[in-house]
Symmetry: C2
Subunit: 202 residues, 2 copies
C-alpha cells in the first residue's frame, strides 16, 4: 500500500514521516491510528517502532521542522535593507509558498500542535509566540514610519497569519486559479489593507 517506495534518497523513516503528515492532516492526530499508518507504509503496526519511538514523536517532528523553517525565514528577512512593507510582502509570499509546497506538514503543525505533550508543547508555544512577536514588531515599525496605517499590530498579525491558512481550502478545491494568481490576490488584499494610503502612491 506504500504510495512512496524507498530509494537511495528516500529512507524508510522519511516515508513514514510523509505518510504520517498526510494521515494526520486527513484524520486529525487522535483519529490517525498507527495501524492506519502501517498499512499505508506497507508494514505491520509493530514494525513502525523499529523506525520511530512513538506516535507523538511523529507529530513533534512535523511541528518543529515547520516552526524552525519559519523562524529562520523571519530572522533572514528582518536583516534585509528594504522597506517594512517589502519585508512583510516577502514573508507573506514565503507563507503562501510553504502552504502550497509543504501543505500536509504546514497544515498539521498549524492545527494539530495542541496534541503535543510536554515539554514539547510549551516549547512549541514559545516558538510560536516569538514568531508572532517578531511579526508584530515589523508591523509596529511600519506604523511608526507611516508606511502602515495605525492599526493594532498583534491583531494585524492574527488576521494576516490566519488569512493565509485559507489556502488550505484553495489547495483542495478543483477550480484552482494558479499559484501565482493566488499569491497576488492575497498580497493585494492584505498588503493594501495595511498600507497607509496617504504615503503610498497608487
Amino acid at each position: 500500500m506504500a504510495r512512496i517506495k524507498p530509494t537511495d534518497t528516500t529512507s524508510r523513516r522519511e516515508i513514514i514521516n510523509a505518510e504520517a503528515a498526510l494521515l494526520i492532516r486527513q484524520k486529525g492526530f487522535k483519529a490517525a491510528s498507527m495501524r492506519d499508518l502501517a498499512t499505508r507504509v506497507g508494514v505491520e503496526a509493530a514494525s513502525l517502532y523499529n523506525h520511530i519511538a512513538s506516535k507523538s514523536e511523529l507529530l513533534h517532528g512535523i511541528c518543529f521542522s515547520v516552526a524552525h523553517r519559519f523562524m529562520l525565514k523571519i530572522e533572514e528577512v528582518e536583516n534585509k535593507k528594504i522597506t517594512v512593507l517589502q519585508k512583510i510582502e516577502m514573508l507573506l509570499r514565503y507563507h503562501i509558498n510553504e502552504m502550497v509546497h509543504h501543505y500536509e506538514e504546514v497544515y498539521v503543525s498549524d492545527r494539530e500542535w495542541r496534541h503535543l505533550t510536554e515539554p514539547y508543547l510549551s516549547d512549541y508555544k514559545e516558538l510560536r509566540r516569538r514568531y508572532r512577536r517578531k511579526f508584530a514588531a515589523l508591523i509596529e515599525q511600519g506604523t511608526k514610519q507611516k508606511e502602515i496605517k495605525a492599526i493594532d499590530a498583534p491583531t494585524a498579525v492574527l488576521i494576516v497569519l490566519h488569512a493565509i491558512g485559507g489556502i488550505e481550502s484553495w489547495h483542495r478545491s478543483k477550480r484552482k486559479i494558479s499559484t501565482k494568481e493566488l499569491e497576488n490576490n492575497m498580497i493585494t488584499i492584505l498588503i493594501e489593507g495595511m498600507a497607509n494610503k496617504t504615503i503610498n502612491k497608487n
Copy 2:
C-alpha cells in the same frame, strides 16, 4: 463538578450541550471523552444517554445550529438596499460578534466538522459551500460595480473568512484590546484591502 446548575430556564440538555462545546473545543472531538463530559456535567457517563443519543449527535447539534445562523444572516443581508461594501462589512461584524459571544460553538463548528458522520457530513459541507458561494457572489457584484478591486472572488472569501478565525487567538490572549477595537481593526484591514481606491474617497 457541574459549572452550570440546571434551573427553570436551563435544561439538563442545554447544560450538556454547553459543556460539550467547551470540552470539544479544548480537546478536539476525538480526544473529548464521554466520561470527561459526564464528570463536568456532574453525572455518570451512562446517564448522559438519557439526554442524548450519541456523542456524534452533540457535534452535529453544534455544527448545524451555527451553520444555520450564518445562513439566515447572509440571506437577510443580501436583500438589504445598501452598497455591497456595506453588506460585506455587516457580515464581517456579524462574524466577529458570533466569534466573540459564541466562541466555543463557532470554533467547534469551524474546526471539528470533519468528524461528522454521513449523511450529516455531506449536508454540512453543502451548507458551507452555499454560504461561500453567496459571499463570493457579493464580492463579484462589488467588483462589477467597481466598488471592489478586480480580485478573484472565491480567493477573497477564503482570506476574509479565515482572517476572522484569528479571533480565536485574540479570545484567549490576556493582552486584550476591546471587542469594538478588534472589530474596527479587522474591518479596516479587510474592507480597505478589498475596496477600490479609485472610486472610494478617503
